[in-house]
Symmetry: none
């Protein structure tokens, strides 16, 4: 396993990392979770991703118990949480979003669920336009100053919002965000490649990529029909099913089918190809993978072997199929 | 119950909140306090106000025991204290006012009395011209950075003093005050409406209003004679009695009598009318109500239903009776 | 003529302003330029836009002579220049882009050509990634501090770049940009309406809109065939011709044809409709119009009468035709 | 003549200074103006006050010519202007108020009218809530940095606004206001004595007092009937006439009559008594006097001799008559 620095920060993350998202609690109990974590850990994975909102805290609870069961050295891995949605059902304006109140309470409660004396990475799971940026950046800075959090970051913030956080941090001598957790895959590239382009240098932004398989689509498992056990049949994922059935979704499924030849030629799977493709981008710090079965995790981990095979020639072939290279000038035709 | 943001901060407070001032300890024991808090909480009240000086700490002690008895989730409500007067009788220059010494000790002792691991709001109960503003703002900032306080504010500070605190915070990169607890009611409007006018925008000041009934006067209970059990007959309230008997006091009692017709027409009480009238001002974040009896609390809570009934026409009628709209130019007659 | 504040700055610009772009020097001599400026000025236009690169300085020369001929009070109008492309043919790395060298020399030379003792607005005509942002913002700040420039801004910068300039200004206590000159019209909306959305508040960004007619297309003059005297037949405008002939260009010509009914119903022209449509957006500070004939200028100025006629219903009708409302979520389909 | 420092700044102003307000141009031509200035100057007056709005620039023109005629050393006196109202009749949003545009143009034009290479004091004649405070303070700072202005200040700003300017100056390392020009006299005391109380120390605010005679009332000339040549009969002063005839005005005239005994006992006039009374307040830097006749000026200057006669006993007697000592607690009756 190779390790990459998390942007310009001092933290190093394994190229592949492991996220619990939909799997822990819903599809994996503590024993299975422990087995998955152990396998990843033994393969060199050093970052385990989580969020308060994943299964309303249960995903963190399961991960916390699994980590405890394994008895791994606390200083040998990184664990994260993300604050935004809260864990309770009853509406409480102070326990949602990014106020100092919820940033603090969310952190304390995640630490408790994860049985962790600190969070290595703590993300703002979404932007919260209700809250002054100064309050968000101050609260995150304070948690770092209290030793509860090592690095703070964001997820799905726009380049403007990231710069705004950076600006407030520089203006008030607070700690700027270190990393962003964006979606990035063969089909979703504009934000990562164009909108964020300057941030890797200006902020020194690190990235922890999610959805490298485009909600599983790039694995090819939706080539013909949808497998019964797919998450797209889970309650709450109707939006995903709808998207798969749309014109845009169908076109992507078609392109994914075409990728099979390239994958076959490289003696790999399309899932591995898609993960390796993400890692070819040097602005990616780590690609978060998920798995509800050991075999799936193993397949993902093997993607690392594919990276060196992705020569310029192969990358061009992939581009010919997916045709998604974003145009930085997409929004400008006239000249002044 | 609706919630309003506390100025431009990320905290949300219920439109009506509950303060213990003179009632807890003196007029309400732990059991009654718990009952009052529970009733308010169930109605959506999320902010419980207190101060070290209320009954010299006993009010906080009672509230702490009542909250513990109820076993409410700590992250589901906000609790405050205020520092200034201290809790001991013997004069000690270090345990009064706003030095770093008393701001810290006051905070720690209030947390202990309230059995709270942090204070959501912590107020400077009065300005303290003896103490350099930098020391006040630094001490409050430090308590926030230590995780003991979430937001700090002031009570009965002038606009100049609030701007001075803001200025010091901006100059030395400390945390500016978030909220002020001013008196505001139909009879006392100049400061809130004129003197503070720019602060709601410039500082983003939130406000937690006290004395919405003008020391109870607006409820109409002093219409004819003073009820035996009124606080104005309590020892220590001679100043209030004297004011009620002054010309100014008598004029207010007369106006309060006239408000009865308007309240009757709306099928409400004058107390409810007075509370609802405060809430019509969008710069009010929350109106603190007190109660020593359940029935009184219930009446207060019902004031929320009166707010929508206060149309422009009704507000004009009220103005015709009270005639207290402040003149922003009161202090200027000549032109230059 | 109404005036709008230029973002949160203290400058006020007329809703319609006058830009010389391609017309001065190429299509209008000093006498005609003076006539156009006088007509606009008498109608209340108070901002005359220019740039060093327009006809390589000749546009500013003509405007300078025309203004001098008219003898208008210098304090009764605002004049701008923009720095980036330089005015000489031979390549000189120091007289292009946004180095301190070219920002200074560009300012001095524009002042001379415009015969102006100061520039009211001075724009960075494009972003220049070669130059450290600190140097750009410092240079602009220095020109303001020297009294040569009143407000500085940008043109066609991304939200990220604008925030970066703002961030550098706040970090080093320099002057942030006041305004941006973006393209904005019925067909180009994403950047102005989505990407910039928070900047109007966070930076207080003012906007001086160019291309309100989408390179003239929205006037309807390309409905059937291209008129001989159109700028799309001028040398150097081959890119525009090519765009008009593309699928996207043809679709826009078709939509423009459909707008005719709406314009006819309002007893106005499509050019006026397009200008008025821009002014309905409150984040527009001023719409820059160009004209090479008095009649054309007059038509543009009359667009102001159309604004009040653009009711919500009419705006919906226009939307039904153009169907260009941008989707803020365009780049996100998956959920986390 | 004694000199007092202008607040905590390094500038020294004569205890009495000379302002042109309504007199120059309207009541005094260049020759008379020169005579008045020379007399004041010879008596030690070192500050001559003006404003762009006084007679729409003509007051400055007359003062400029008079100063030139006298040929006084430029470094031996201080001259001021004030920016806000502009000098032209036609409405121009950019040549009124406190934008960078008008602050600059106002300064340049005042310097030209006054024939002065710099302004010693430059005031914001009124607050301008339309303009961001940062723009106001930056513009004033820039003019000082360019050497055009020595000290900047305000006139008739509230304590909150003064603190806001101070706050912005400290936050962005700009120059805070040095002085304020408020109304202050026996009848108008609240702002100067209560609202500003902390500013003399916190900001180090200097004050150049206007209206020391309460629009002439305190001179006693309205004791019986209004003299024909009084300014209250000038067009544009109807507001003043109306005030004099009001209950409040009549009460003041009555009190002024009562002051005659005290003045007589001291062998002085009531005008001199009123000027000397202002100078007893150490927070007054200078009292601006006006005069349209030499004799009037001489009378004012002799007020300096009265100051030592105002013992504590005499001041108490005056207080007994005027009864205007402001109550710092005027707006607070209830206790918390």
């Amino acid at each position: 396993m190779n390790y990459r620095s998390l942007g310009k920060s001092g933290a190093y993350v394994s190229e592949l990392s492991f996220g619990s998202w939909v799997t822990f609690s819903k599809q994996a109990d503590v024993d299975l979770a422990a087995e998955l974590i152990k396998t990843a850990y033994d393969a060199g994975v050093n970052f385990f991703d989580n969020a308060e909102v994943y299964e309303k805290g249960k995903s963190e609870l399961v991960m916390g118990k699994a980590l405890k069961k394994l008895g791994l050295r606390r200083d040998s891995f990184l664990v994260s949480s993300k604050v935004y949605g809260g864990v309770v059902d009853e509406p409480n304006p102070n326990q949602q979003g990014l106020s100092r109140i919820h940033i603090y309470d969310g952190c304390h409660q995640a630490m408790e669920r994860l049985q962790a004396d600190h969070l290595d990475l703590y993300f703002c799971h979404r932007p919260d336009p209700r809250i002054p940026m100064e309050e968000v950046v101050r609260s995150m800075t304070e948690l770092i100053q209290q030793g509860k959090v090592r690095y703070w970051g964001t997820s799905e913030w726009s380049a403007q919002q990231l710069m705004e956080a950076h600006s407030v941090a520089r203006q008030y001598n607070l700690i700027p965000p270190t990393m962003e957790q964006p979606q990035y895959n063969m089909f979703e590239r504009y934000r990562f490649e164009v909108e964020y382009a300057r941030l890797y240098d200006v902020i020194g932004l690190g990235t922890t990529i999610w959805s490298p398989l485009a909600s599983g689509m790039l694995s090819g498992k939706y080539d013909e029909t949808t497998p019964e056990d797919s998450r797209i049949n889970l309650p709450g994922y109707e939006w995903l099913k709808k998207f798969f059935e749309s014109d845009k979704g169908q076109e992507r499924i078609r392109k994914t089918r075409e990728l099979k030849t390239i994958a076959d030629d490289l003696n790999t799977t399309r899932a591995q190809l898609a993960l390796a493709w993400c890692l070819k981008n040097e602005n990616v710090s780590t690609v978060i993978t998920g798995a509800s079965r050991l075999s799936q995790l193993q397949e993902n981990l093997n993607a690392l072997d594919v990276v060196p095979a992705l020569t310029g020639e192969i990358m061009d072939k992939i581009e010919d199929v997916i045709q998604t290279r974003p145009d930085p000038m997409e929004f400008q035709i006239a000249k002044d």
